[in-house]
């Protein structure tokens, strides 16, 4: 090798410059690792070898920002990917070409010779950066046939496993059960076994598992069910750590389409004396509604086997397994025949309440009854006990489900959301187990309660609402109000999940149901309002207006608060729709209705509406009307809110009523100043500064320069103090105030003040990207100008 032309050229290049250079060595793909190892050995004097293996969707290891110095980077991996994946990665390498510079040293890529053309197509810019691309034809003689054969087999196995992902049976076969997938995996493993007695089958299975996990991350959920058995097969041999790694990366959200058969379960656990990893695996599944999990005997076996950890005093490990198991199978744990064993060992968990309970006979019943009767004061542990031991107290599932629902509902009313969720889920689980042939209204109520409890997880909420609607439809005789309630909730949730079509469909069904059976005009108006809001989001403004008008027509004018609030929503919808359609006069009429309705309901909101109304009139140039509205707002505010005065000042200024404008803005300054004195923080500071800057600009236009400068400087001082509190944030307000101060000073020949303000802007911008923005660059030029003028002024 040392005499080869390609090697000499590479050696010369490294000797000449040991900085970041790209070298492409082209040869047989499967020889990547041994060939690079042999090369690295010969190039030791240029640096320690640093290996990088490219993975699908993974350039992280190559592009990590902390790279060691004094190394020769050796990169391979294209040879272990299916062609499409390699092309894809090449394109990404090309896009990230600039980032390769983090590799502060020579980088030697091994490229499979037959992939080079594709690399040229997908990564032309990357290839253009090369210092050398050479065919390496004579490396084979340096590599022993055994090593070459093993590497070839490994590459084939990995490419095959990667390609095989595309051959995985789609969902319809998965639905047929787990057997075909297990067969497929077993077949893959068997084939791999032929390669070597080494750990190749493990590598294949793990690689396959990783592939599938990534597919899932890419949204190809349909293939993922095969991942679980693959992972288990890998880990049960006791060698792999696939689960742990997936767990860390949050990729372990597996879908189990059907319970493991006894045979499958035995196959999986047979290779290992324990199965403690199963519980975390199934915990990973818990987020998915369709989990089937293990059968009762399987759970029992799992729990019993996990006691082996106790025998070895691995308490922490046992504790994790047990807690996971209890959490996942809490509604079934009493049935699996291991309850006594669980209780006798539970003290190892160290839960004081449980230990206390174990000290007295009959504790279970007492605990559960107290939980149900005075649940609002219960601690989380007691809720857990309720969930676990409830079945013993109320053996009839329907009664227990109802009790849990009531308990959960109470917890929800006192805002104990997470506890409420546990109870409601347990209740629903029992209702589900009861079957859907003749579901009961309480089942729907429990689903509705749970859905309302899931405030921040709209996707999960959507599933629950759909189930609620589905169950409510099956209740005999039909409970229209219950179904309408479920439909209403589903519509709102669909709307929030940006599924307007589903929202529209659902609301249409609810409205039809109201017309057929309930005949409640308030409910109908409410649904029409929601339908209108959906139409508005879909930019179907005309239809939305029709619905809003219809709702306003049928809504009884009974003067109640709810009725008024609904009317406000309907007029707001009209305002928004008319505005979008460009019918501004009508929009303003609708806005006026909102203000009138709001007045008796909420002074604060009414004032906000008045301000917005005034702003709109000002924007529309209807100044006299704007002045009347905003004056009313200033009076109604009792002189305690600054913004109406600021707005009034703007209106007066636009009306050329300078003295009144100054008076109003000074009032805004006074109110803000009081707010600041009261100890309110940053917000008041900025509000006061803005009012002062407005005042300053008015004074400047009235030729009262000294006062204007004085006021602007006060604003700057305030904002400086504010900026000091948040040093990591770019002080945009302060920069803007300084610019105003600088311009004002410059225009009145106060060049030193101007120079000071501009220089301060540059100092402030220095640590931030904004230093290269146009406004800051402009300030740089302005500073040069005023410095010159300042020098001249001083000289003269």
């Amino acid at each position: 090798m040392k005499e080869s032309h390609w090697f000499k050229r590479l050696e010369i290049a490294l000797e000449f410059d040991s900085g970041f250079e790209i070298f492409l060595l082209l040869g047989r793909g499967e020889l990547a690792r041994p060939a690079l190892a042999a090369i690295a050995e010969q190039l030791q004097r240029f640096g320690t070898p640093s290996w990088h293996r490219l993975h699908i969707d993974d350039l992280d290891s190559l592009l990590t920002t902390e790279q060691p110095g004094g190394v020769v980077h050796l990169v391979h991996g294209f040879e272990r990917m299916p062609a499409a994946a390699a092309a894809n990665l090449a394109a990404r390498l090309n896009l990230n070409r600039d980032r390769l510079e983090v590799l502060a040293g020579p980088v030697i890529f091994w490229i499979a010779e037959d992939f080079y053309e594709e690399l040229l197509r997908q990564a032309p810019d990357f290839v253009a950066w090369r210092s050398q691309a050479t065919l390496v034809s004579d490396i084979e003689s340096l590599i022993s046939p055994d090593v070459a054969a093993e590497e070839r087999l490994l590459c084939h196995a990995q490419i095959e496993a990667g390609s095989a992902c595309a051959d995985l049976p789609p969902l319809d076969i998965i639905d047929a059960g787990r057997r075909p997938i297990l067969d497929w995996l077993t077949e893959t493993s068997t084939r791999s076994f032929r390669y070597s007695v080494d750990d190749h089958p493990l590598r294949v299975a793990k690689w396959c598992a990783w592939q599938l996990a990534r597919l899932r991350e890419a949204g190809s959920y349909g293939w993922v069910p095969a991942l679980l058995p693959s992972l288990l097969l890998t880990d049960m041999t006791g060698v792999g750590d696939g689960i742990g790694r997936l767990w860390e990366q949050g990729a372990l959200h597996l879908v189990v389409a059907a319970p493991l058969s006894t045979q499958e379960f035995e196959t999986i656990v047979a290779g290992n004396g324990e199965n403690r990893l199963l519980a975390p695996v199934f915990d990973g599944n818990s987020a998915h509604a369709s989990i089937a999990g293990l059968t009762d005997p399987q759970i029992a076996i799992m729990i019993e086997r996990s006691f082996a950890d106790l025998g070895r005093h691995e308490f922490e490990q046992w504790r994790i397994v047990m807690m996971t198991t209890l959490r996942l199978f809490e509604d079934r744990i009493c049935r699996v025949g291991v309850l006594a064993a669980v209780i006798s060992h539970w003290r190892h968990l160290g839960l004081s309440s449980v230990q206390r309970g174990l000290e007295s006979r009959g504790w279970r019943e007492h605990s559960f009854r107290s939980a149900v009767s005075c649940g609002v004061d219960l601690e989380a542990n007691e809720v857990s006990e309720t969930l676990i031991f409830g079945p013993e107290v109320f053996p009839q599932p329907d009664v227990l489900a109802l009790k849990l629902y009531e308990f959960g509902k109470r917890m929800r009313e006192v805002h104990q959301s997470s506890e409420a969720e546990k109870l409601l889920r347990a209740s629903i689980s029992l209702f589900r187990a009861e079957g859907r042939s003749r579901p009961r209204p309480a089942f729907v109520d429990a689903l509705i309660s749970l859905a309302r409890n899931l405030e921040f997880d709209h996707e999960q909420e959507l599933l629950i609402w759909r189930e609620a609607v589905s169950v409510a439809r099956q209740i005999e005789p039909l409970d229209s109000r219950l179904l309408i309630g479920a439909l209403d909730g589903l519509a709102l949730c669909s709307y929030l999940c940006r599924l307007p079509d589903e929202a529209e469909r659902t609301l249409s069904e609810a409205i039809a149901l109201v017309d057929e059976s309930v005949h409640d005009p308030v409910l109908r108006s409410q649904l029409l309002c929601q339908q209108g809001q959906v139409f508005y989001e879909q930019e179907r403004c005309e239809e939305a207006i029709l619905l809003a008008k219809e709702a306003l027509r049928i809504l009884p004018d009974d003067g109640t608060k709810n009725s008024r609030l609904l009317r406000i929503e309907l007029w707001q919808l009209c305002d928004a729709c008319y505005s979008d359609l460009g019918l501004h006069q009508r929009a303003r009429e609708a806005a006026a209705q909102v203000i009138e309705l709001r007045r008796p309901l909420s002074t604060q909101l009414w004032l906000r509406d008045l301000e917005m109304w005034g702003e709109r009139l000002l924007e529309a140039g209807e100044l006299e009307q704007a002045r009347a509205v905003v004056t009313e707002a200033t009076q109604a505010s009792g002189g305690g809110i600054a913004y109406p005065f600021t707005l009034l000042a703007k209106i007066h200024w636009a009306l050329d009523q300078r003295a009144e404008a100054i008076e109003a803005i000074e009032e805004a300054v006074r109110i803000n100043r009081e707010g600041l004195d009261d100890g309110y923080g940053s917000w008041w500071t900025r509000e006061l500064a803005q009012a002062l800057l407005t005042l300053s600009s008015y004074l400047a236009q009235l030729q009262r320069e000294d006062e204007a400068l004085h006021v602007a400087r006060e604003a700057v001082t305030l904002l400086e103090q504010d900026a000091e509190r948040q040093p990591a944030q770019y002080p945009a307000d302060l920069v803007s105030a300084l610019r105003q101060l600088g311009d004002l000073a410059a225009s009145h020949q106060q060049f030193e003040i101007a120079a000071g303000a501009y220089a301060r802007i540059l100092t402030l911008a220095e640590p931030f990207p904004a230093r290269t923005s146009d406004p800051v660059l402009e300030v740089e030029l302005r500073l040069e100008e005023v410095q010159d003028l300042s020098d001249i002024q001083r000289g003269s």
């Binding site: 990230n96 950066w129 146009d774």
Partner: protein, 441 residues
């Protein structure tokens, strides 16, 4: 006086293909007498082409992106430069549709106005852009359009500050940090193949054109916009080129002056003829440094001499930057050989110079002589051999004889990879890359 190894190292670094040209480094580049940027700028300034649409096409490495940079620099005071880095914004450039490109233009205009001028484009218009684009999406894709707006990559040139090289580079780093224009997430960019196939005149496409026009009109409150789109020169499939430039006129629709970088294949008359209805072509031909290979083509001796002089100028500037005098670094014969073997491709010229400098440095030579230059050329010749096939050789022989390719995918790849090089002097002709030995001795 001869060169030391340190001096050779300096020159070696100055010729590094990894070092990009920055605005203030353009002086390392000899401005070509037919500067495309200057021509387009003059055309815009003269007022005759206020809504002009240009495609700059030329070989890979001839400086198309550099011309965009130069154009931005010339016109930055009089136009709002809206730059789109399509290559970085898309996962697979060949799958990018005209609708996606329009969307990128709209999004880039919004982001440029906001980030550089603090100008907030009317939110209704932003919504229109998103809605119109959402109406074109293929049902198979679930895409968050609002996120796409943020993901469109702006060209980095308009973020460069004037000043010294160091200042420019630090500005580039700041811009990278602030905008992500250069530092990309390792994850795949989003664009490419997102939209369903639509033809000109489709109402959904018209709605998108309307939205983009309204945004361009909004940002015109700052300054008249000039849109520069880089990346389409990287198209690798001939049918993708035809779809974008010939079959449809969508790319020419926005109501603003527009400049695209286009693939070298558009230099072929047959491929250009349909696109010529909507665009002006700005050809970035290579320096003519040798007689055409085809007997039917002619180049005036003066043009060849001018080309060689320009190439010498480029090498001279690099030498100057490394503190070396050209005449003391290369013998006349060596430099002539390197220039001839470069085929007038600037990137290839720099690669050959770099290789010869490395050889001279390692051999402790005081000057690059003809033998060293020949060795350098030989190293790079071998790289072309790697991907040479019978079909490609046959096509190159045809080009050598006739001065033009036959057309089609093989020709396109030869042009894309610089196996064949285009030249112009009023008319176009092509020649095989002089590094390639078509007939082995």
């Amino acid at each position: 006086m001869g060169q030391t190894r340190d001096a050779w190292r300096r020159l070696y670094k100055v010729c590094d293909p990894k070092e990009r040209l920055h605005v203030d480094e353009l002086n390392l580049f000899v401005e070509r007498p037919d500067s495309v940027a200057r021509k387009i700028a003059n055309s815009l300034r003269s007022g005759f082409d206020e809504q002009g649409k240009w495609v700059i096409c030329g070989s890979v490495g001839t400086g198309k992106s550099t011309e965009l940079t130069k154009l931005a620099e010339i016109l930055r005071e009089s136009y709002l430069i809206v730059g789109v880095d399509l290559w970085r914004a898309s996962a697979r450039i060949d799958e990018v549709s005209a609708a996606e490109i329009l969307f990128c233009i709209g999004a880039a205009a919004v982001r440029t106005a906001e980030s550089r001028f603090g100008h907030q484009v009317d939110p209704t218009l932003k919504k229109h852009l998103q809605t119109a684009f959402a109406g074109l999406l293929d049902d198979r894709h679930s895409v968050e359009v609002a996120e796409l707006v943020e993901g469109v990559t702006l060209l980095a040139f308009d973020l460069l500050a004037p000043g010294a090289v160091g200042a420019a580079k630090s500005a580039m780093k700041a811009a990278r940090a602030a905008t992500g224009a250069q530092v990309l997430p390792i994850g795949r960019p989003a664009l490419g193949g997102l939209t369903r196939p639509v033809k000109d005149g489709d109402p959904a496409l018209d709605a998108l054109v309307w939205a983009v026009d309204q945004i361009l009109s909004d940002v015109a409150q700052i300054r008249a916009p000039l849109v520069l789109v880089d990346g389409l020169d990287k198209l690798t499939r001939i049918d993708a080129i035809r779809d974008l430039f010939a079959t449809s006129r969508t790319l020419a629709k926005p109501q603003a002056p527009l400049v695209y970088t286009g693939p070298v294949t558009l230099m072929l008359a047959a491929e250009w003829s349909a696109a010529a209805n909507y665009f002006d072509r700005a050809r970035l031909a290579n320096l003519v440094v040798a007689e055409p290979t085809a007997p039917s083509r002619r180049a005036a001796p003066q043009q060849i001499e001018d080309g060689r002089t320009a190439a010498r100028g480029i090498v001279s500037r690099r030498c100057e930057s490394a503190g070396i005098e050209l005449s003391s670094a290369f013998t006349t014969q060596a430099l002539d050989l390197l220039i001839r073997k470069s085929g007038g491709l600037i990137r290839q010229l720099l690669q050959l110079v770099r290789e010869s400098v490395k050889l001279a440095g390692m051999r402790d030579l005081e000057i690059v002589d003809e033998m060293t230059a020949r060795s350098a050329c030989d190293e790079w010749r071998k790289e072309f051999e790697i991907t040479m096939t019978g079909v490609r050789r046959e096509e190159l022989e045809y080009i050598e004889a006739h001065g033009e390719p036959k057309g089609g995918q093989v020709s396109h790849e030869l042009l894309l990879w610089n196996y064949a090089i285009p030249y112009a002097n009023g008319e176009m002709w092509f020649a095989p890359n002089p590094l390639i030995e078509l007939r082995k001795a």
